[in-house]
Each structure stands twice: as structure tokens, then as C-alpha cells.
Amino acid sequence: MIPADTSGARRGDTRGGAGARRRRPGTGGGQGVPLLLLLPALVALAFLLVPLVALLVRAPWRGMPEQLTSPAVWQALRLSLVCATAATAVSLVLGVPLAWLLARTEFPGRGLVRALVTLPLVLPPVVGGVALLMALGRNGVVGQWLDAWFGVSLPFTTAGVVVAETFVAMPFLVISVEGTLRAADRRYEEAAATLGASRFTAFRRVTLPLIMPGVAAGSVLAWARALGEFGATITFAGNFPDRTQTMPLAVYLALQSDPEAAIALSVVLLAVSIAVLAGLRDRWMTAS
């Protein structure tokens, strides 16, 4: 009796449909979920889902083909995908070694370094953009030398977009990979060492394959964060169509002049996000 009830309730919850809610009063009151928890939970669920549903409801479906085939949308979408992917790649190349350093070595001030790495997670992105300008702007602490020695100037370029996105996205990857590294069985590395593997070989051939689920999860998080990046990008790289105007920037701009276009662009971003989540769900959500 009781097991049947609870399993029914659980099935209802995962579906999250109206059917489950209608069945609940019939399942014997106090046995199930307390009302004081259930009500806020349902409000939270609605709060998260209603805006997305509203977006779909109000989407100009009839005009959609026209909106989506406009060169401006494609430019922004292509730029967004390229920059987010590039930012993820940079985060991988630099962030995985940083995660390894934090997880596998002891050095003075390691705790402080770890805290600083996570700072961009909580820092308002606009502040990040300003900070990047101070560092890499033409007159920035580092930027003046880049300009003087190499003639390289990052602000207001596509490379600048990648820099801004990397700045906000890399911490997600580092934290995720570091956590996986800490949880991974270090004895495999010891086994590799007894077989003659240097520490780097052990990392490359044993540790890295073993922590792949964590790396994948971190990459997805970083990629999604980079794709949606707005504040640091617009501050550091500006808003130039086909150069630095990514989708979020295009959405914001369109909302002021052409709301229908903004909605259409938002639907595209929503679709990309859902596709990524669905595509990688089995690969990393279950693995970790």
C-alpha cells in the first residue's frame, strides 16, 4: 500500500505534470510530502519554468524563418558559438593544469590561490570587464607592453571577446576538474609510477582519461557560461556587429528596437542550451 503510493508520487514528481498534482490529495494526505515543503517547491518550479514557457508562447513563430535567416542573426550566432568554443578550449588548455596544480601539489598560499581562482565566479561580470580593460587595455598594466612589443591590442576585437568569456568561464572548469581530481583514486597514479611513468605521463595516460567525465562536465559549464556572457564582453570588447556582437548582446540591442527579433534570438539560444544539456546529460550527469 505505502510503497505503491510513494512510487506513484515519485513518478508524478519526475513528470512534474498536472496529473501528479491532481492525484496527490487521493493518496492519503499526511503520508506524502509536507505541504509546507511542497508548495514552495512548486512555486520554485513554476518560477523557473514559466518565463521559458512564456518565451515560447510569445515567440513570433510565423515570422521565425525570416528572422532566423537574416544575416545579422547568423553573424551573431556564429560569433557566439566560435567565441564560446574558443574560450572553452583556452580554459581547457590552461585550466586543467591549474586544477591539477591545486589538487595534486602543496605550496604555500594554495588556499588563497584557490579562493582567487573562484573569485570570477562571484564577481559581477561588468567588474570583470573593467578589470580586463585595466590589465589588457591599450594603456593597461600588461596591455601597454603587448601593444608596444607585438602591436597587439585586445579590447574591442573578437579575440577580446574570447578573453572576456575565458575570464568568466574558466573558473567553472577549474573547480569542476579539481573536484574530480580530488575524488579520483591517486593509487592509479602510483601504479603508473611503478611502471615507469613520469608524473606527466601518468597524468596524460592515466589520470586524464579517468577524470574525463569531470573535464567534460566542466567544459559544458564553461561553454554555457561563455555562450551567455554579457557584462564582461560588452565592457571589454564592445558591441560591434560581426566582430564582438555575440548573441546576448544582439538580443539586448534588438529588444530596444525590434522586440520580435529579440524573442526570436532568445528562442535560438534556449534551443542551443537545451540541445547541449540533452546531448551531454547521459555522458556526464550520470558519470559523476
Binding site: 583514486d185 593509487r187 592509479y188 602510483e190 601504479a191 603508473a192 609510477a193 611503478t194 611502471l195 615507469g196 611513468a197 613520469s198 608524473r199 605521463t201 595516460r205 592515466v206 582519461p209 579517468l210
Partner: protein, 366 residues
């Protein structure tokens, strides 16, 4: 001490003498504050040495120190005349079979075995050919492409052994090599492991808390307790002449200490016991529990030799017999048949007389 022929000169030499002669010459000191390992260990090429001891005795620490995974805080390590004391694990000619094998889960059996040769500079093709040959030798040729999770416990153990041997180690270390196996598999794997160890021409050191594994696999036992060697010798010597309570319990003997004058030994517990050996001075006295006979009343006719008044402290079934723990004049364990136990009406607290055949009580110098 019992096998002075092979290893005595190594131990006496300590440094250069042992190094020149080949094999293992180690003095492992690992200090961890609350625990200190201080263990001298020597072995000739081709010899299989078992480190036997209870959990927490420091056996695994000794093994990790030999592999370079636990840094030595003192002592030295020479292998075939080469100083390895401070070499990192990856540049030691040492192979390790870990307790739960630690096969790399993302690599096939073949690539697991090829990993070592590859790291030591072989080309991919050569490493794989060598690995295939090793798997073939282990009777695992058809499992070469299998990932570790598809292998049975026994197969995984053999892959781990092949992986350790594929680097041609001069020292093979095995950490509880049979502990992860069920009883049935254990029997087969133990026999196979024995064959492979018999043809292995370098030094093998295995760590175990199972006396049977140690006795079947090793040429020599080194018994470790509290980080120190408490006894060493051939399995036969150690089993017959235990020198600590731990070994005595493992091999199922009563062990007492005392002072001998001829065939009579005055035990430290108080009473005397007559033994088969004629000795003088401090001795151990060992006798099997089934050499003890229990009587409900003081037996008439026999002299007072090897007869003690005791009380039953506990009883448990032990195979097809009953093991009785006795306290009183002389604390000891006695084995008797279920029928005998029933006839005596034994239960905790019963007063009995215990007699021991002098022919089965052995004394040896302490």
C-alpha cells in the same frame, strides 16, 4: 637466523658486500610519528620472501618503501648492487602487483600490460608484442582486448602480474596478492602464482596476513609486528617453532616461555612441563592443542608429569572438533572431539585436569 646459508653474509655485510652479491639488501626506516617501521630485509635473486604479520604491522608500508611510494626517513636500499634509496618510483627496476590490482580501467588488458614497456621506452608495436606474449604466458591471450571490468578476479590478478613482470623488474612486490579473491579462485590462482614465482629469476617480496599464502608461495618468511622483524626463517621452521603469540595462533600451537633444565622446563606461568628436547636456559615450549587430553577428575596411575588443574574459560567449534580455552594452573588451548566434550559435560567454568603427551611438547632456545 635459520637460513643463514643463503642470506647470512648479506646481513652481515650490510653495505658493499651484499650489494656486490646481487639481490636485495634493504634497511627500511619510515618514521610517521606514532608509527615507526624499522626493518632489515635481504633476499637473494630467485628467492621469494613473504612479509607476514597482522594488520597495521607495517608490511604494506615496507612494500611502499621498497617501491619508492613511501619515502624512507632512514636506512638504505640496494638492489643488485645499485643504490635505490632516494630514487623515485618510476626509475626503480621494481614491479608491483597491488592488492586490488589497480588495472587502468580505461585500457584493455593488453594496453595495461604494454603500459610499462611503453613508459620505459619501447615503441608502441614492441610494447604491444611484449604484452601479448606475457598475456599468452598467463593463459589470457583471448582476453587481451577486454577492459578490466570484464575480467574475473583471477584473470585480473594475472593481468596485474603480467603488467608488473612486463617491465623485467629486478624486484617484484606483491601486496596481498590473493586477498581480493573468493576461496575457490584463490586455490587456482595461488597454484598459478606459485608456478610463476618459481621461474622468476629476480627477488620477489610478497606481503600477506594469510599464513597459508605465505607458506605456499614463499621460500622464507619474515614475520613483522609493530614495524619490526620478530622472526624469520623457512615456512617449516616458523610453523614449527613460533616465537610470538601471533605466529603461534596462526599456526595453531600453544606457546609458552620458560627455563629449561634438561627435559624439564619451568614455565614463566609457574608449572613445569616435560618436553622431548634436552636443553638448558631460556626456551620456548610449543605443543598442538590436540596433544592435550582433558579429564573430569584427577587421572589415577599417571605421575604428576604434564598434568594441570584448569577451568574451562570458553569453547568454540574448530573444524570437526571443539577447541577449549582453559585458565587455571596453565592457560592453554585444547582440542577434543565433540563426543569427548559431551562426555565430560564441558561448559564455561567446569573444572578439569589437562594432561599433555611429553612426546609432542617441543622446546627450543628463546
Amino acid at each position: 637466523m635459520t637460513r643463514t646459508g643463503t642470506t647470512g653474509h648479506d646481513r652481515a655485510g650490510g653495505g658493499t658486500g651484499a650489494s656486490a652479491s646481487g639481490g636485495l639488501d634493504a634497511h627500511l626506516v619510515v618514521d610517521r610519528g606514532t608509527f615507526r617501521l624499522d626493518l632489515a630485509l635481504t633476499a637473494a635473486p630467485g628467492e621469494v620472501v613473504a612479509l607476514l604479520g597482522p594488520n597495521g604491522a607495517g608490511k604494506s608500508t615496507a612494500l611502499r618503501a621498497l617501491a619508492g611510494l613511501a619515502p624512507l626517513t632512514g636506512g638504505h636500499l640496494h638492489l643488485d648492487g645499485t643504490e635505490l634509496t632516494h630514487r623515485p618510483p618510476e626509475s626503480r627496476p621494481v614491479g608491483v602487483v597491488f592488492q586490488d590490482y589497480l588495472l587502468f580501467p580505461h585500457l584493455t588488458a593488453l594496453d595495461n600490460v604494454a603500459f610499462g614497456p611503453r613508459c620505459r621506452g619501447a615503441t608502441k608495436a614492441r610494447a604491444r608484442a611484449a604484452a601479448a606474449a606475457w598475456l599468452d604466458r598467463m593463459g589470457l591471450a583471448e582476453h587481451a582486448g577486454a577492459k578490466p571490468r570484464r575480467l574475473s578476479g583471477g584473470q585480473a590478478q594475472r593481468v596485474a602480474l603480467a603488467r608488473a613482470l612486463a617491465t623485467d623488474p629486478r624486484l617484484l612486490l606483491l601486496d596481498e596478492p590473493l586477498a581480493a579473491l573468493d576461496a575457490r579462485t584463490r586455490l587456482d590462482v595461488r597454484a598459478q602464482l606459485r608456478r610463476h614465482l618459481a621461474v622468476f629469476e629476480a627477488v620477489a617480496v610478497l606481503v600477506t596476513h594469510d599464513p597459508l599464502d605465505a607458506m605456499v608461495l614463499a621460500d622464507r618468511l619474515v614475520v613483522v609486528e609493530h614495524g619490526r622483524v620478530v622472526q624469520e626463517g623457512t615456512p617449516r621452521d616458523v610453523a614449527r617453532h613460533p616465537r610470538t603469540d601471533y605466529i603461534a595462533r596462526l599456526v595453531g600451537l600453544n606457546l609458552r616461555t620458560g627455563r629449561a633444565e634438561g627435559r624439564t622446563v619451568r614455565l614463566d606461568d609457574g608449572p613445569t612441563v616435560t618436553t622431548t628436547e634436552d636443553l638448558t636456559g631460556r626456551v620456548f615450549v610449543a605443543f598442538p592443542p590436540d596433544a592435550v587430553t582433558l579429564h573430569g577428575s584427577r587421572p589415577t596411575g599417571s605421575g604428576a608429569r604434564n598434568l594441570w588443574h584448569c577451568r574451562v574459560a570458553g569453547m568454540e567449534t574448530h573444524g570437526d572438533r571443539i577447541r577449549v580455552d582453559l585458565t587455571g594452573e596453565l592457560p592453554l588451548a585444547a582440542d577434543l572431539t565433540t563426543v569427548a566434550a559431551a562426555e565430560l559435560g564441558l561448559h564455561p567454568g567446569t573444572e578439569v585436569w589437562a594432561s599433555l603427551e611429553a612426546a609432542r611438547a617441543h622446546a627450543y632456545p628463546a
